[in-house]
Point group: C2
Chain length 339, copies 2
Amino acid sequence: MKKNPVVAVVGATGAVGREMLKVLEQRDFPAKDVRAFASARSKGVKLPFKGGEIIVEELTEDSFKGIDLALFSAGGGVSKKFAPIAAEDGCVVVDNSSAWRMDDNVPLVVPEVNPEDLDWHKGIIANPNCSTIQMVVVLKPLHDVAKIKRVVVSTYQAVSGTGQKAIQELENQVRQIFNMKEVECKVYPHQIAFNCLPHIDVFLDNDYTKEEMKMVNETKKIMHAPEIKVTATTVRVPVFYGHSESVNIEFYNSISAKEARAILSQAPGVKVLDNPKESIYPLAIYAAGEDDTFVGRIREDDTVDNGLNLWIVADNLRKGAALNAVQIAEHLIIRELLR
Amino acid sequence: MKKNPVVAVVGATGAVGREMLKVLEQRDFPAKDVRAFASARSKGVKLPFKGGEIIVEELTEDSFKGIDLALFSAGGGVSKKFAPIAAEDGCVVVDNSSAWRMDDNVPLVVPEVNPEDLDWHKGIIANPNCSTIQMVVVLKPLHDVAKIKRVVVSTYQAVSGTGQKAIQELENQVRQIFNMKEVECKVYPHQIAFNCLPHIDVFLDNDYTKEEMKMVNETKKIMHAPEIKVTATTVRVPVFYGHSESVNIEFYNSISAKEARAILSQAPGVKVLDNPKESIYPLAIYAAGEDDTFVGRIREDDTVDNGLNLWIVADNLRKGAALNAVQIAEHLIIRELLR
């Protein structure tokens, strides 16, 4: 990776794409140039960047000539088709879709957890699922100390994880309810306003959702720990930004709540907010716009040997998507410089 | 208990008290008379009942003369003081507060689970916590078949569980946000609109909340199963009515998802809604106003021997409070008649 790559954001008009541009700007990413691509429908849209504007170009098979780094967030279909084309042209792809995550030839990376996997990429690097990223950032430092046996996780996921249209749907439904109008459901199969949907992504043959199995399988791959058992229930809640997670962990070795707090307060990308008596614990509304993954409600679970309960919250569009992708790109540059 | 008791609703102007009157009316409870009590502040308030009105009386130490049955939902302090006075006057108290639940001389009853405990009451019967009731209604029939070892539960609880003021607070905060005004927090320590609070009731010395420990301790007492291990994370979500729960269960004996579905579809007070491919699963907005406890997302958890994941939803003001209290009263009458 060049020190000053030409960067493309693919799917630039979506919720994650817009956040990618914002993160590139905020972190003053050393790009020689930043270009934005989307479908023909969005061609010509102007996106704000560093005081100016980027004009969205239509994504075609020729788009990647002269591009060094492409951050993809345009859905699995686009990634499946265009990431190999980009890689063929010598461009490194960081892909936010689920298309390549479980491919054995594609590293799945959270920089705080497995940066070493960046060394063996073949042109495509996968960005994990939002709910997985914030969980593994917290699991990894605890696993290193006490070895995780099993995780039971239930999520409270924001609508922005679904995209711009879902943000609009929650807002519209709230207005419809407050104005005594009929509620329209276009994005979700049921009303999301003032409701909780135990249904994220599609259902699989085992009656788990694809989102739930992402948390199971991606965790094992990122942490190089196929032996960690994970069971998940993923739930959409009427929150705009910020995913929350209730995480129960069983360890092989003893670990107290106090030890976990000490370990996590030193962990990269993690901030401990854990003073319940003062009503201090992680909250979606405060995590929104932040880079850290927040953890609190750290307490021992005495229903198993070596158990802990945790409450983990992060901005799903940032650490859960755009920020993690840009951090991967930053690590690629740094690792190249250090080589 | 008389066949046609004179009934008092204590705390009649609260969210649960109003629901108690509604349930008494809907079920055509065989009351000779229904009276409503509250604090001096609410004296004279008119509450609708059976096409007419009940005028709220001030609760005093003399209120229970001539009352056969009192349904209390006026907070722990009022119950602690007035329930023994009522019992002394020969009135049977069904108390919705947490004041008496763990008292060894007070039965804690969910009629579908432990109606036999109604036989040894000494004038006070405790109604369990809302999030506990809907869980044990589902756990009991499964426990009878496969013996439960451990439960990990995370809740998604509606603001109506806190009371009328919290319903108003969620509505107010949504309006404030949509009108670009500052959000006011009076009931909860943080904004509840578009947010999730991992904080219900007060924090205890073990860093669990009182709500979490209610789920642990009340479950054991109701089910006469002190050996069942329960660990809970209880979370308030921006939903008006209906508590949802993500429940992971480990059994001693084998039980498949199919078997669990068959058992639960025969269980009293339970309705199975479990056809994920058609987007059919329990939802808070549809549970609101209903008497049943709904269960779905029933699936095997292969991270332990004999594991299941479930999604349980009920109307927290009805089965979680008012309905369960009235059902207790109905059972008292029936058991007396059958004696």
